[in-house]
Assembly symmetry: C2
Homo-oligomer: 338 residues x 2
């Protein structure tokens, strides 16, 4: 079998380093025009095929990551996983990996899809989203010796550090704590929290961040009157916000577990109170309220790092600290007269 | 270069027909146990890989559709292509096709990606989004004899019916016309249009739908005072809405080219006027204003239909009529006292 040309062959023929060849392929803009042309000529002359089948045949790897495209969710934060997919696809592309999408209505369907993709050698790693406690998907992948990383921690106590389960998650607790602290620093004391019904790991962590900050500021008494929950719709959030205003005893600010909930609070209070949401959606930017950004670029980078460096003793998880994006604290829903 | 084993080799080694091998691979339940074992042994002995690379080599079909994941756009309508991707992935999955994602910053980058994917036999068709006048991508694909369908019509007059360019698009003009007519039917006369700066095919078509309806209703005089444009941000849309109110001479309703623009009008007028947007985003649902739905399920179905039935004389394009989703005509941005 005649050897396929490698990146070394191209580098030698063009008289450049291997890194330069890689740059021409992946970031041509950073390479001088004449060098770029020389490398491209060498690629053409040698018939070097940097990607796809050539590499697959060489390494028996498809260089493809399988990921389920989560069902569309209504609610303005629903696009968060789409934004993660964008970040992942862009960063994967830069390192020569591709994203293969599939759909699955339930975990069992997703497992069936895993099996089909593995049988067909169509992918060599999986990225999972929307993890939950006792998730059968991760168990299955571990049992079948597959490479995978989850966006979302394992929501069970004992397996958080299981080296077989690589994960990246966003520290929602830290994000909401920072949001609450920023309001405390500006002198607010009666800061309400608008959360989801208890029981979801993600939601409980976010509520915990608000509680941590309030307790640390010596405002831990009677927190129950400052806590309301709603399902993730603007209509429900408006009703919950009305209850917060009614029971909050001088409520002067609101932190919400999502931008959908935050939008409900902004609309309900007509912009009279500062509101901080979570997810930094385009809607928070459009409406001008503050929000906690999940830093999905960091999440995607962590996922790819764990996928491509899956040996050694380094920790098999990353907890990304989100970033508070502050905007006008009193969004002018009703504009001034012009 | 040594030849990869084929299904024929397996059939010969196992002493069965090629169809039986195929059955063992695809519907093992219908094959007798002893036959199944014999075929599996032959597969193992020969190192035959029925799927992925092997199948690709046999049929020159990867059963995979390549699509560029469009860059994230800010603005609340930005997720429209993500929603199309969801519909496409779900429907493709149902017919055994997969979606391979890639990214590309510019049309030339996308063409380079086409080349790489074709060279690698990684995909056997492309779906393109965000077409524009004189699009070099479609020219390239036609020249290279590739199967593709665009979501978005060719924005040039003479190639609309070119059978080599299959396309699906949404009839934005009809959608905006229907929105405007629904307001006319409810007695509104001073209906303003909030559009994008002229020059985009999509935007000009939508403005045309409003003009058509107004002219047909005998309200075509002085339309210029009812037309304002803004870039697709809420802030710009608010300013344009303020101008509409000022110049519109008793403005009593607004139709907008997007939900971002509509949200600007809703916020600026504080819900005092009925506003109809375009895209039926989660935000329009959350805020309770009407919007034109692009029926992306229909678009995806049309794309797949054109991809999988690419012979014969049937028209090579589909123009999907969008659907007006009516909600409360006066969204209560400022709630009643409870």
């Amino acid at each position: 079998m005649s050897r396929l040309p490698t990146v070394h062959d191209v580098a030698r023929a063009a008289g450049v380093s291997r890194q330069t060849v890689s740059n021409v392929l992946n970031s041509p803009g950073i390479v001088r025009e004449d060098t770029r042309e020389r490398v491209r000529k060498a690629i053409d002359d040698l018939g070097y095929r940097p990607h796809a089948s050539a590499r697959r045949l060489r390494t028996q790897k498809s260089s493809t990551i399988g990921i389920r495209l989560d069902p569309m969710v209504d609610g303005i934060s629903g696009s968060i996983l789409d934004r993660f997919l964008h970040a992942l696809t862009e960063q994967a592309d830069a390192v020569g990996l591709r994203i293969l999408l599939f759909t699955a209505a339930r975990p069992e369907d997703e497992i069936r899809q895993f099996g089909r993709l593995i049988d067909g050698s169509d992918v060599d790693a999986f990225v999972l989203t929307s993890t939950f406690h006792g998730d059968p998907r991760t168990e299955w992948l571990i049992e079948h010796g597959q490479t995978f990383v989850t966006f979302g921690r394992p929501w069970g106590i004992d397996d958080m550090n299981d080296p077989r389960h690589a994960w990246v998650d966003v520290d929602g607790r830290a994000g909401v704590r920072a949001a609450t602290e920023s309001l405390l620093e500006r002198g607010h004391k009666r800061i309400g929290f608008l959360g989801w019904p208890t029981g979801s790991g993600t939601g409980d962590e976010r509520a915990g961040g608000w509680r941590d900050a309030m307790v640390a500021a010596g405002l831990g008494d009677g927190l129950v009157s400052l806590l309301e929950t709603a399902v993730d719709t603007v209509a429900d959030a408006r009703e919950a916000s009305a209850r917060l205003v009614e029971n909050g005893g001088g409520l002067d600010a609101v932190v919400a577990a999502s931008d959908s909930l935050a939008l409900g609070a902004v609309v309900q209070t007509n912009g009279a109170l500062p509101v901080i949401g979570f997810d930094n959606t385009p809607v928070s930017a459009a409406m001008g309220f503050s929000s906690v950004d999940q830093r999905l670029d960091e999440v995607a980078a962590g996922v790819l790092d764990l996928l491509t460096h899956n040996e050694g003793t380094a920790p098999r998880h990353r907890l990304v600290t989100p970033e508070l994006v502050l905007r006008s604290s009193h969004p002018p829903v009703v504009p001034d007269e012009r």
